[in-house]
């Protein structure tokens, strides 16, 4: 058994062990900590599987926004958790156990009957990379070969933010999402929130830029930018913009909007919806990605900030 195999076994054992602990532990808060840690370890597995793009997404979302969202929610749940303590009845428990066992068995069966070798479009995606002059096959698939999916994904993000905003009471509509945060201006958090965002913005833009030829892209970069924005908000250095702000709404629709315009132009002047002329493919894709990173950063940040809660000046 080679050293590499031993390493893989150790990695799998650690991740599985942490996963089981997360399920078994009774307290919500501990389980949340375990789950966030588990997500970061899964990034190691993605790197081991050569799926660096996925690892980068896992690190950017799980390490930043996801952790803040889950831990914040768990902390708030614990402060108001007296009602949920009465245990479910035995019938419910048995049903849940049967359902879980069936799901696990189905998944195991599905894995066992997978065809070998698995059907793949990877060679086709790699051999057609010339069409966009981008070297990262993942970006090619996301932005060109399956651009429709990515565009609709951005529309889904937009729908999500509308969904969150619709939870606002009438009196707060048009106001700022989330509470106004406060922290000691000489404290550790404010110090970090002054120091880290400039570095983070450079890293976010770098991840977007390198996404053309290496792992990276607009979503990962946008998640990093959103995390930096959220840090400034949580330290009280910045406030969320009011949802009635025209500039904010322009940023929110910029990504899907530009995508749609380019798509329709492809329909009118090119061969099909979302077809890029090969000579201009790279500049067009980069322009869409720049618009998308702004949309993604704003949307993810606002999704975490929550529904509008207070009017300007409150």
């Amino acid at each position: 058994m080679s050293i590499a195999t031993i390493f893989e076994i150790v990695l799998a054992a650690v991740v599985l062990g942490l996963g089981i602990w997360t399920i078994v532990v009774r307290e919500t808060y501990s389980a949340t900590v375990g789950f966030v840690a588990y997500g970061l370890l899964v990034a190691l597995i993605w790197v081991r599987l050569d799926a660096i793009d996925v690892a980068l997404t896992e690190a950017a979302i799980g390490g930043g926004l996801g952790g803040v969202l889950l831990l914040g929610a768990a902390a708030q749940l614990r402060d108001s958790e007296p009602a949920v303590t009465d245990a479910a009845g035995n019938a419910v428990r048995v049903c849940a156990a049967i359902l879980s066992a069936l799901t696990a068995a189905t998944l195991a069966g599905a894995v066992l009957v997978l065809p070998d070798p698995a059907p793949t479009l990877a060679p086709a995606a790699v051999s057609n990379a010339w069409a966009t002059s981008l070297a990262n096959p993942v970006t090619n698939v996301l932005m060109a070969f399956r651009a429709m999916d990515t565009m609709l994904e951005k529309v889904v993000l937009l729908l999500a933010i509308i969904g969150v905003w619709s939870l606002a009471p009438d009196s707060a509509w048009g106001g700022h999402p989330g509470p106004r945060h406060q922290a000691d201006p000489h404290g550790v958090l404010v110090f970090l929130a002054r120091l880290l965002p400039p570095i983070g913005i450079v890293v976010g833009i770098y991840v977007l830029w390198t996404g053309a030829n290496h792992p990276g892209g607009a979503f990962q970069g946008g998640a990093i930018l959103a995390a930096m924005w959220l840090l400034a908000i949580m330290a009280g250095l910045a406030d969320t913009p009011p949802v009635s702000s025209r500039r904010l709404r322009l940023i929110l629709v910029a990504g899907p909007g530009l995508f749609l315009v380019v798509g329709i132009a492809g329909l009118l002047f090119g061969s099909a919806f979302l077809s890029y002329p090969p000579a201009q493919a790279k500049p067009l894709i980069l322009a869409i990605e720049v618009a998308m990173i702004l949309t993604i950063a704003a949307t993810l940040g606002l999704l975490l900030a929550g529904a509008p809660e207070r009017r300007t000046g409150q």
């Binding site: 550790v188 958090l189 120091l195 570095i199």
Partner: protein, 97 residues
């Protein structure tokens, strides 16, 4: 890949692994939250720094080297900040009890 570079890598990464060992021993043996926090944020960051130092000779380009060094600096910043924040929260939890 030069012989000298390889020697630096082996020495520094071994030393880094030793400090990770020290940090984990500290976590297992120290009695309370604050001392364990100390073991974690100091020893592990030293270990990370030594691993980064050891990987510098293996870096493919100058840019990768810069990224390695900035990862360590960010790690130091995170360790210092996190230890302050968690220690204050832990102490506050104690005094509230």
């Amino acid at each position: 890949m030069s012989l000298l570079g390889d020697i630096i890598t082996i020495v520094a990464v071994s030393a880094g692994a030793f400090f990770f060992l020290a940090g984990t021993v500290g976590l297992l043996r120290f009695p309370d939250t604050l001392t364990r926090l100390h073991a974690l944020t100091k020893a592990d960051n030293l270990g990370l720094g030594l691993v980064v130092l050891g990987l510098l000779p293996q870096a493919a380009s100058l840019r990768d080297g810069f990224k390695l060094v900035s990862i360590w600096l960010l790690g130091l910043l995170a360790g210092a900040t996190v230890s302050q924040l968690i220690a204050r929260a832990a102490r506050q939890g104690e005094s509230a009890r």
